[in-house]
Structure formats: structure tokens, C-alpha cells
């Protein structure tokens, strides 16, 4: 049994961590938070040059052809530093959609560019308020032209193309690839609780759209890819949870009140212990997810929902209590606590909200994978 990353994967982690600690300090995150840019182009280019974006993309499509385990390692590191880059949209989603359902031509057209960072892709499903479900998708494609509105679309303001779920002529849900630099596309950047990750509304008015995957198979493909992306996202959340815990622990050791470090008070000590507990549970569940991701296990849907629910819970918990441990300072703009708080709450909603994943987890377990978490 080896429910752990390999030594090579750990080397990769150290490598990525070194790169990010140099190129993506909190000041870089703040530059995106406060500035006009939607993401940190230099960090993104650097990740591409490191070969990190294409780590799980086959060599024939310009990647390095390693496994998704390496991508999990990368995701955790991106999460730790809250990297303001569109990796989740472009790699966990767009690249995975192409790998899962793209034609050879589509793969050849886009995967190499995703791997080298030349192009950014994203995925658009939600059309507004509430849980996304098939009935809520109204965007439609007629005669190869897409009409409708998708909102919010993560990184939709900077992406070069988007994979869209829409109704085909027969009203069935299918997936389409739309070039966002083409005609009939309007983008609006949206204000959000986490401005370090861009959100946009994409309006399509007879925009050229090419089918991705089999007609009518849109919901099915999306579910499968979203499960895979959820595991990668869970690693990002895990990284964030761990880092928020470390930040709180360090502050509790340094900050004095009543002549003692505040970490010597049980109220703070036990709060930190509980943060450790949830981060540890999340890590173990993420490793389970990583195993399912690469082993092609039948319980992937259960493992994905498990990792996702656990990591969402842990990151929200750790980011929230990190502020509490910091007291008033934790609520200033100058301290980094709110970066974690924003990110934790934003990631909790991307790919579907916590309650959606909770419900899916139990639905999937009752559909026959009951033994999985026993």
C-alpha cells in the first residue's frame, strides 16, 4: 500500500513550491486583487515554461505525458499560494474536456497551446442563479451558431475559447467549442467576492460553435469531467487550508496577549487543533480522490464528491478561523487573511456548491458504492 505521492512527485512539489514562493508571493496576488489585470501573466508563463501546465497532457499533444497525480501535486501548490492564474479553467476543465471528448483535430488545435500557456480555455455551464441542472440550460446552437448567455464563467474574460453546454437543434444537451476571439461574442467582467480570479458573463449571439463529443452527450461528459476537476480543485483547496492553518499557527506563536503567546490559550489552541483535524481529513480524502483519478476506479464519482466536500469544508473552516485567530488585524486589508477567506468561499462555489456535492455524494453512494466509505 502506498497512499502517498512518490519521491519524484515530491521532488516536483518542492520544485513548484520554490518557483511559486519566488514568483507568486502574496504581493503578486494583491497586484491582481487591486490592479486592472485578471491574472498574473508572468506566473502563468513561468508555469508553462516549467512544464507544469501540460504535466498531465500526453506528449503527442505537447504535454509531458505524466499522470494526473503530478497535476494533483501542482494543484495543491497553486492553492497554497492562491496563485491568480487560470489553471483550473484552462487545465482542470478545458484540457480535460478535450482529452475526454475532443476530436483529434480539436485536440491538436488546442492542447499544445494550453500546455504551453499560449492559449487559455474555460468551461461555461451556469446561466445564473441557483444550482445548475439540465433544465436550467437554455443556450442553444442552431446551424452551428450559439445563442445564449453564460454567467458566471471563471476566467471567461481572458480565455481564448470556451467549452459551452447548450441545446442542440433537437433540444438535447451537447457540448460546443467556441472561439472567444470570434464573432458574436460579448464578454463582461463581473465583480466577485474573490477578484484574484476573474469572472465574466459571456453573451453569445449566433457565435460559431463546433460540436465537442457526441451529440446529446453533453451532460454525461460534463459530469465526468467535473468529477475529475473536482479532485484537482480539492487539492487546491487543501493547499489553501493548510497554508491558512500555518499562517494562524505562526501568528498564535508570535502574538502576545496578557503576557503570553495567544497560542497558549485553549480557546486559540483548540481552534487550531480543530483546523488541523479538518485539514487532515481533507488531505486523506484528497489522496483517495487522487488514487481514484489515476486508477480509473469505479468509485471515482464517490471519491470525487468525498474529496470535494471534505476539502471545501476544510478550506472554509481554516480560512474563517484564520481571521478569528488574527483578531482585528485579520480583518484589515493589509493582512493576507482575507485573501484566503475570499478564495475559500469562491472555490466552494466553483464547479457547484457544497450542498450540491453533498447531495451527489450520498446519491452516488446509495446508487451502489455504499461500501466505499465504510
Amino acid at each position: 500500500m502506498n497512499l502517498d505521492f512518490s519521491d519524484d512527485q515530491k521532488l516536483l512539489r518542492d520544485h513548484v513550491r520554490r518557483f511559486l514562493s519566488e514568483k507568486c508571493p502574496p504581493s503578486a496576488v494583491r497586484a491582481i486583487l487591486e490592479g486592472p489585470e485578471s491574472y498574473d501573466k508572468e506566473v502563468y508563463r513561468g508555469l508553462a515554461e516549467l512544464g507544469v501546465l501540460g504535466v498531465a497532457i500526453p506528449e503527442e499533444y505537447g504535454g509531458s505525458g505524466l499522470t494526473h497525480l503530478e497535476l494533483c501535486v501542482v494543484a495543491e501548490e497553486l492553492g497554497r499560494v492562491m496563485a491568480p492564474v487560470p489553471v483550473s479553467s484552462s487545465i482542470y476543465l478545458a484540457a480535460e474536456f478535450l482529452l475526454a471528448a475532443g476530436s483529434k483535430a480539436q485536440k491538436e488545435a488546442w492542447l499544445p497551446k494550453l500546455a504551453n500557456g499560449e492559449a487559455i480555455g474555460t468551461f461555461a455551464m451556469s446561466e445564473g442563479q441557483g444550482r445548475t441542472s439540465p433544465e436550467k440550460i437554455h443556450a442553444k446552437v442552431e446551424g452551428g451558431r450559439l445563442t445564449g448567455t453564460k454567467s458566471p464563467v471563471a476566467d471567461g474574460d481572458v480565455a481564448d475559447f470556451v467549452i459551452v453546454s447548450a441545446r442542440d437543434g433537437g433540444g438535447k444537451l451537447s457540448l460546443y467549442l467556441v472561439n472567444l476571439k470570434g464573432e458574436g461574442v460579448r464578454r463582461e467582467r463581473l465583480e466577485s467576492i474573490d477578484p484574484t480570479r476573474g469572472q465574466a458573463r459571456l453573451s453569445f449571439d449566433r457565435a460559431p460553435a463546433e460540436l465537442l463529443g457526441t451529440k446529446g452527450d453533453g451532460w454525461h461528459i460534463a459530469s465526468q469531467v467535473l468529477d475529475r476537476a473536482a479532485i484537482l480543485m480539492a487539492f487546491e483547496q487543501l493547499g489553501g487550508a493548510d497554508r491558512a492553518l500555518e499562517m494562524a499557527r505562526d501568528y498564535a506563536l508570535e502574538r502576545m496577549a496578557f503576557g503570553r503567546p495567544i497560542g497558549s490559550f485553549q480557546a486559540i489552541k483548540h481552534m487550531l487543533a480543530d483546523m488541523y483535524v479538518s485539514a487532515t481529513l481533507a488531505r486523506s480524502n484528497c489522496y483517495y480522490g487522487a488514487w481514484a483519478l489515476v486508477s480509473g476506479a469505479a468509485e471515482l464519482p464517490v471519491a470525487a464528491a468525498t474529496a470535494r466536500v471534505s476539502a471545501t469544508t476544510a478550506f472554509q473552516h481554516c480560512a474563517k478561523n484564520n481571521i478569528q485567530v488574527h483578531g482585528g488585524m485579520g480583518f484589515t486589508w493589509a493582512f493576507d487573511c482575507h485573501l484566503f477567506y475570499r478564495r475559500s468561499n469562491a472555490l466552494a462555489l466553483s464547479l457547484g456548491s457544497l450542498s450540491t456535492w453533498e447531495s451527489q455524494l450520498i446519491e452516488r453512494m446509495s446508487a451502489g458504492n455504499a461500501g466505499a466509505a465504510a
Partner: protein, 420 residues
């Protein structure tokens, strides 16, 4: 068990109601009702000027600082009359939020500790809204541990008897609008921490006072840092004896906790309305079992706080002192609002991340998400409040103290040094 006024209370209430109807700035009512965290909501005119004008009008008619003695600008009314006034003033109370600290905390401290001459000089313009006061207590290194403050006041060496103040305060609400400040300083670092403090009041326009707004995590700036560089304060502006500052500060803080409101909001009414409108799988969210369970638990907290407030008012109505129940308000409301905001965003699905005017209720839940962490910290963190309930209400022993018998300058200031 009733919600009725006594005959006297009813008479007083109708008098108040009639006066407010005739005099309140009705054109601002809609804006005031939209008030969000940290502002009174007025945008069509200068919100501070509007507040001062309303306070002045109240003062001229004898409705300012109802519980203060008349000689200091008050109306010598009973506590329950003050409560009734507050209920009837309703949304207009938000107008004069900028006076809350002056009327609720600084005024009572001046009343208890200043000379008669100062009281007659300082309190009437505070009551009438001419002057705004702020409270200069917290410091970057002393929040929950207020007595750990470091702002120094030393006697001027020119024999004037004046004090020269250097240091920094933080979390000062309204400093930028204030005429006067209540300032606690350390005058002797060689005695234990609680014994070397001295309280002053000073003009906020004194040379050497610099006010910088603090940008908060939610982007707003409700608080300030105040820097003191060789600020000179006449000894006559001292409140209490030299070294008696801690005792004086307790007057201020006790008054902070005495304030009785209708209970803090958890955000439940907004969430409930949202759940009536939002849908899950094509049905109103309020019909979803998970939503119901969450809503019910918040509902009983909101309701519990409301009726806890009413129990306190009932005690006042009978001329009794309310019990300690009201100490639970912020502790319950802060955490509940944070959970509620996270839940409301969850119900919005992926769109919950968006925070603009098209968001449900104009982004109110996103605003709650970003503001609620401060509620759990300001004016006593959740942890301090639990200590207070445990010790003052339940009578449990205090935490073990390692800093009480030590000279202030010998208390370690870095956690990396091993604690004793």
C-alpha cells in the same frame, strides 16, 4: 406575559410618536432603511451633517440623551423611556450613529470623572450634536488585552505640567469626524500593567494628531489609526488620578455593555425572504428539507435574541436592572450571520461568487460574508465574550495570569521567547 405598555409608557410613546412624525426628516427614510454595515445609508446629502441636524433638532425639543441629567444637556428620563424613544425613532436612529460612542461611552466617562466645570462645558455640545467624540483605547499590540497598551504620556520638561503623548491607537471609529477624543495612555511602565495607565480627553485638532483610515478586508473603511507625535495635553484634561486610567476605562467599557437594543440581527429575515424566492429543483428553496433545517436553527437564534432583548426591556419597565442575558447578543449574531452568509451563497450556486447589484438583494449576502468576520472580533471577540459569560455570569475563575504582578516593561513582547 404581555407586550403592552403601562399607561405611563403608552402616554410617553404617543407623545414621542407624534413629535417624530412631525419632525423627523421623512425624505431620508428610504435611504436609511437601506443602510448597510458601517454607514447610515444617507447618500443624497452629507450623512454627517444630516446626523448633526437631526441631533440638534432632538436636543432643542428635549429629546437628546434622554437618560442624562438636564444640566448636562439631557432629559433626565427613565431607562424604559429611553428604550421607547429608541423603538419609535426607528430608522432615524441610524442618522445619529456617529454619536453612539460619544453618548454611550465617552459622555458617561466624562460625567463620572471630569470636574464640574468640564462637565458643563463638554457635555451639552455632545448631547446636542455639536461635537462628536471618539474613543482612543485599542492599539495594534493590545486588542483583547487592552491594559497592554503602549502609547506613552510623559510630563513635559518645561514645568508646564502638560503631558506629551507619543504612540498609536487603532480601530477608532469616527476619528475623522471627531472634535474630541477619550485617550488612555501609559504614564508608568515600571509598575504592573493595570497600574501605570492614565486617562485624558483631548481635542482631535491638537497638533501632532494624525488620522489614517484603515482599509478593511471587505474594502470599506469604518475605522482609523490615530498617530500621536509629541501631542501636548494640559494636565487639566486628565480624567481621574495619574495611574488610575484602568479604573476610568472600566466606566467606559461598562457603559458599552449596558446599551440595550432590540437585539442584533443574524440576517435571518433577509435569508428567509431569499429562500421564499429562490428555487431548488424547480421548487421554492424554503420547501427543501436541508434548507428548512438550517433556517429553523437560525430562526430560533434570531427569535431568541429578540425576546432576550424584550426580557431586558421588561426588567427596565419594572424599574429593575436587566440580567446578564444581553451579553449573548453579539456572540450569537456574529457567528450566525457568517454561517448564514455562506449558506445563502451556497444556495445561489456558482453565481454566488458574483457580487454586484444584480446579485440577490443587491449583494447583501456577499456583503454579510465579507463583513461578518469583523463582527466576531470588534467590541470583544467571541473568545473574550465567552470568557466574560463564563467568569462574570457563571462565576468561573479567571484565566491564570502571568502578567499581573510584573512591571509592564518586563512583560515579554514576542511569542518566540518562551513564556514563563
Amino acid at each position: 406575559m404581555d407586550f403592552e405598555d403601562t399607561a405611563e409608557e403608552a402616554a410617553f410613546r404617543s407623545e414621542v410618536r407624534a413629535w417624530i412624525k412631525a419632525n423627523a426628516p421623512a425624505h431620508l427614510e428610504a435611504e436609511l432603511k437601506r443602510a448597510n454595515f458601517g454607514s447610515n445609508g444617507v447618500v443624497s446629502e452629507d450623512p454627517i451633517a444630516a446626523g448633526k441636524a437631526w441631533q440638534k433638532k432632538k436636543a432643542e425639543a428635549g429629546w437628546a440623551c434622554l437618560h442624562w441629567p438636564k444640566e448636562y444637556g439631557g432629559a433626565a428620563r427613565t431607562p424604559i423611556e429611553r428604550v421607547i424613544w429608541g423603538q419609535e425613532e426607528g430608522p432615524y436612529a441610524a442618522l445619529t450613529g456617529v454619536f453612539t460612542i460619544g453618548h454611550g461611552m465617552c459622555g458617561p466617562t466624562v460625567m463620572a470623572w471630569a470636574s464640574e466645570e468640564h462637565k458643563r462645558k463638554l457635555l451639552p455640545p455632545l448631547a446636542s450634536g455639536e461635537h462628536i467624540w471618539c474613543q482612543l483605547f485599542s492599539e495594534p499590540a493590545s486588542g483583547s488585552d487592552l491594559a497592554g497598551l503602549r502609547t506613552r504620556a510623559v510630563k513635559a520638561d518645561d514645568g508646564s505640567g502638560d503631558w506629551i503623548v507619543n504612540g498609536q491607537k487603532i480601530w477608532t471609529s469616527g476619528a475623522q469626524h471627531s472634535d474630541w477624543g477619550l485617550l488612555i495612555t501609559r504614564t508608568n511602565p515600571d509598575v504592573p500593567k493595570h497600574k501605570g495607565l492614565t486617562m485624558f480627553f483631548l481635542s482631535m485638532t491638537s497638533p501632532g494628531v494624525e488620522i489614517r483610515p484603515i482599509k478593511q478586508a471587505n474594502g470599506a473603511s469604518g475605522f482609523n489609526e490615530v498617530y500621536f507625535t509629541d501631542v501636548r495635553i494640559p494636565d487639566a484634561q486628565r480624567l481621574g488620578e495619574v495611574g488610575q486610567g484602568w479604573e476610568v476605562s472600566l466606566t467606559t467599557l461598562m457603559n458599552e455593555r449596558l446599551s440595550i437594543g432590540s437585539g442584533m440581527s443574524t440576517g435571518f429575515p433577509e435569508l428567509f425572504r431569499f429562500c421564499m424566492e429562490a428555487e431548488i429543483e424547480g421548487r421554492p428553496a424554503v420547501e427543501d428539507a436541508a434548507v428548512r433545517s438550517r433556517l429553523a436553527q437560525i430562526a430560533v437564534k434570531q427569535s431568541g435574541l429578540k425576546y432576550t432583548g424584550m426580557r431586558a426591556i421588561s426588567a427596565l419597565s419594572k424599574g429593575e436592572t436587566p440580567g446578564p442575558e444581553n451579553s449573548i447578543g453579539k456572540l450569537v449574531a456574529g457567528a450566525a450571520m457568517q454561517d448564514l452568509a455562506i449558506f445563502a451563497l451556497d444556495l445561489q450556486g456558482e453565481a454566488g461568487v458574483v457580487w454586484d447589484d444584480d446579485s440577490p438583494q443587491q449583494g447583501r449576502f456577499q456583503a454579510m460574508l465579507m463583513r461578518s468576520p469583523a463582527t466576531r472580533i470588534e467590541g470583544g471577540s467571541d473568545e473574550i465574550l465567552r470568557n466574560i459569560i463564563g467568569e462574570r455570569v457563571l462565576g468561573l475563575p479567571g484565566d491564570i495570569r502571568v502578567d499581573k504582578e510584573v512591571a509592564f516593561r518586563d512583560i515579554p513582547t514576542s511569542g518566540r521567547a518562551k513564556p514563563k
